[in-house]
């Protein structure tokens, strides 16, 4: 069956009646919905949306936790020919102000006529909706008119989904994906796992549904195969990681993806008692993506959970990004993960990868998935040979149409069918090794954060020089995950007390604004942070200099220095005129 849109998957249901969605709550009770029932529920939502006047192409933000209503809304919106935009629900006990402003900004950005939300979420959304002013306001599914409506036929070029790659008030990046792109990605994913007459794969996921790895990585493939998919809310997983592994065991999951930090959480926050009776031997593929894969965590996870049947060859590092719908490279399945060591200086200073017994260990994220091509290019866009670090460009059938309504931002990354991922790495023996990022986005715990979001939090703290703050993340060697640094130029007139309190005040501000703990606050004299010729802060350069121990202020320009410099240049000019050699 050649599906052209996600709705074709809904049309073809009925071949495997035991397929569906299973929701697991904190008491490990399960609620089950067959795919056919999910379709019926979505049709009801479609009718309600059509009755409200929702039209083909309308963008509809959805704010739901991991529960059946998310799917009623998601598929209901698509059946009505509109485009779902999943947004994240409020963080528990988090600072509501930031959340509401960020959500309002994202709603505005999509020019949505209507927002759909869970009843509990709707109660606190008032301010966000008032700010964004969608024509039809915010409705729960229960508030939609109960009318039967016609399904709107869309085509492969129509948008299927808009996904914000990082939620931010400053510069939301809404990735617009067509049906064609998502179908292409799902077909790529499905090609890695074959069902047979006697054996059907089943996935277990705690990943958020507003994130590509959860939605496009788990949900849509399960729908396309009419498979069973077991879902756990991300907030449940983070507070009780054992739920994930216990569900994998109980429901004989064969596939489950997660970011690196999740495997780390399992190491530190699951007791042996919680694993009693668990059997992970059916878990054939433990995908590891969405952030850098650290050998420290992967090895320790494999070692610890072998006791409960975890197969070492299941751990599969992968690489992808929402601008490509999801997967770009996959390591070989059913094979132990590969890492190599490289000479540190050659890598950081000369951007050349030379294997060395005692070098920096980098995990391979594998080869391009079927249909994708990869290039490593230098700053000028010229192809680099193997073993040379450069920017990773990709081409494939599931690339985004662009950033929603933003041709300029799109043109900056998408050129002649190639996408500049903003990531840095090199190829060796056909495998991709990632070394860092050229783009400024901060990736921690598998989530993207815009550095502006964090920088803005500390503006206005006494002693902070306005507009002179850089936030950046980096991965120390042997670390279990990324760390967050804040480089802060201090104001010229900052007093000693303000300076003494500054690091702590910055940490508190970032904690409150972004819920993130800063690992390193570096106070710098005014003028230290590197800038472009037009005065823009160069974040990647600031990080590079700091890691090299070279983040220092420029030499002060004094009268004597000026005179010496002029004398030197005058002397050189004189020599040139008289044709004399430099002495």
């Amino acid at each position: 069956m050649a599906a052209e849109t996600l709705l074709d998957y809904l049309d073809c249901l009925g071949r495997f009646p035991d397929g569906g969605l299973r929701f697991v709550d904190r008491a490990e009770r399960a609620t089950w919905f067959p795919w056919t029932e999910i379709r019926e529920r979505a049709l009801a939502v479609c009718g309600g949306l059509r009755a409200l006047g929702i039209e083909r192409g309308d963008r509809i933000p959805l704010i739901f936790p991991t529960e059946i209503e998310f799917f009623d809304a998601f598929f209901g919106v698509q059946l009505a020919g509109a485009v779902p935009v999943p947004l994240y629900p409020p963080v528990r006990l988090g600072r509501l102000g930031q959340y509401l402003r960020g959500t309002a900004r994202m709603i505005e950005r999509t020019r949505a006529p209507l927002v759909l939300a869970d009843a509990r979420v709707k109660r606190i959304l008032g301010e966000a909706v008032a700010l964004a002013r969608p024509r039809l306001g915010c409705k729960t599914l229960g508030e939609l008119p109960r009318e039967r409506g016609e399904v709107v036929r869309v085509g492969p070029s129509d948008l299927a989904l808009v996904q914000f790659s990082s939620g931010t008030t400053v510069d939301p990046k809404p990735v617009a994906l067509s049906h064609r792109a998502i179908i292409a990605q799902v077909e790529i994913l499905n090609s890695f796992w074959q069902d047979t007459a006697d054996f059907r794969h089943t996935c277990v996921s705690w990943l958020p549904l507003y994130h590509d790895m959860g939605l496009i990585g788990c949900v849509v493939p399960a729908l396309s195969r009419e498979a069973q998919l077991t879902l756990i809310g991300p907030e449940l997983f983070v507070t009780r990681p054992a739920l994930w592994l216990r569900a994998l065991s109980r429901y004989r999951g064969t596939i489950s993806p997660a970011p690196n930090f999740a495997y780390g959480l399992c190491l530190h926050r699951i007791s042996d008692a919680e694993m009693e009776g668990c059997d992970l031997s059916e878990w054939r593929t433990a995908l590891d993506g969405a952030e850098a894969v650290t050998p420290a965590v992967t090895r320790a996870f494999i070692e610890r959970f072998a006791r409960w049947g975890f197969r070492p060859e299941a751990l599969t590092p992968v690489y992808g990004l929402s601008e490509a719908a999801l997967a770009v490279t996959f390591s070989a399945l059913d094979t132990p993960f590969e890492s190599r060591r490289f000479q540190r200086d050659a890598l950081s200073r000369d951007r050349i990868a030379r294997e060395a017994l005692e070098g920096r260990e980098i995990v391979s994220v594998g080869r391009p998935v079927p249909g994708f091509r990869l290039r490593i290019v230098d700053e000028a866009g010229r192809d680099l040979p193997d073993g040379r670090v450069g920017r990773v460009w990709i081409q494939g059938p599931s690339l985004m149409e662009g950033y929603l309504d933003d041709p300029l931002a799109t043109a900056r990354v998408l050129r002649d069918g190639w996408l500049d991922t903003g990531d840095l790495g090199f190829l060796m023996d056909g495998e991709l090794f990632l070394t860092g990022r050229a783009k400024d986005v901060i990736i921690l715990r598998g989530r993207n954060y815009a550095p502006e979001e964090i920088e803005r939090a500390v503006e206005g703290i006494p002693g902070v020089r306005t507009g002179c703050v850089v936030a950046a993340s980096w991965l120390p060697e042997d670390a279990e995950g990324g760390r967050l640094a804040l480089f802060v130029e201090t104001a010229r007139d900052a007093g000693p007390e303000a300076l003494a309190d500054l690091p702590e005040a910055c940490r508190t501000a970032v904690l409150g604004a972004a819920g993130l703990a800063v690992d390193q606050v570096e106070l710098l004299p005014p003028g230290t942070l590197p800038r472009t010729s037009s005065g823009k802060l160069r974040r990647a350069e600031a990080l590079r200099l700091w890691l090299a121990g070279e983040l220092a202020p420029p030499e002060p320009v004094t009268a004597v220095r000026m005179a010496k410099a002029m004398a030197r240049s005058g002397l050189a000019y004189a020599r040139l005129r008289w044709g004399r050699e430099e002495g």
Binding site: V91, R92, L93, T239
Partner: protein, 82 residues
């Protein structure tokens, strides 16, 4: 012992067991972010484990006004009163 004290002790126990809190009992005026230094993961953990401990359910509207330990105690007391 007053109800509030019992609740406060319960929350302090949660902080010790699940948040790595090394101090004694929490004091009511402590702010969750500024004083307890809770990032988003640990805020989630606090909410979930307080729910588990007291067998209550906190929803988004309940959590709206919780900035200090005292706020949290008040919400728990209200929920237990049902």
């Amino acid at each position: 012992m007053s109800d509030d004290m019992i609740i406060l002790q319960g929350i302090s126990e949660v902080a010790r067991l699940h948040l790595g809190w090394q101090g004694g009992d929490l004091s009511p005026e402590m702010r969750l972010v500024e004083d307890l230094r809770l990032d988003s993961v640990r805020l989630m953990t606090l909410a979930a484990e307080v729910e588990n401990r007291f067998r209550i359910f906190l929803d988004e509207a309940d959590e709206l006004a919780i900035e200090t330990v005292a706020d949290l105690v008040a919400v728990v007391r209200r929920k237990l009163g049902r």
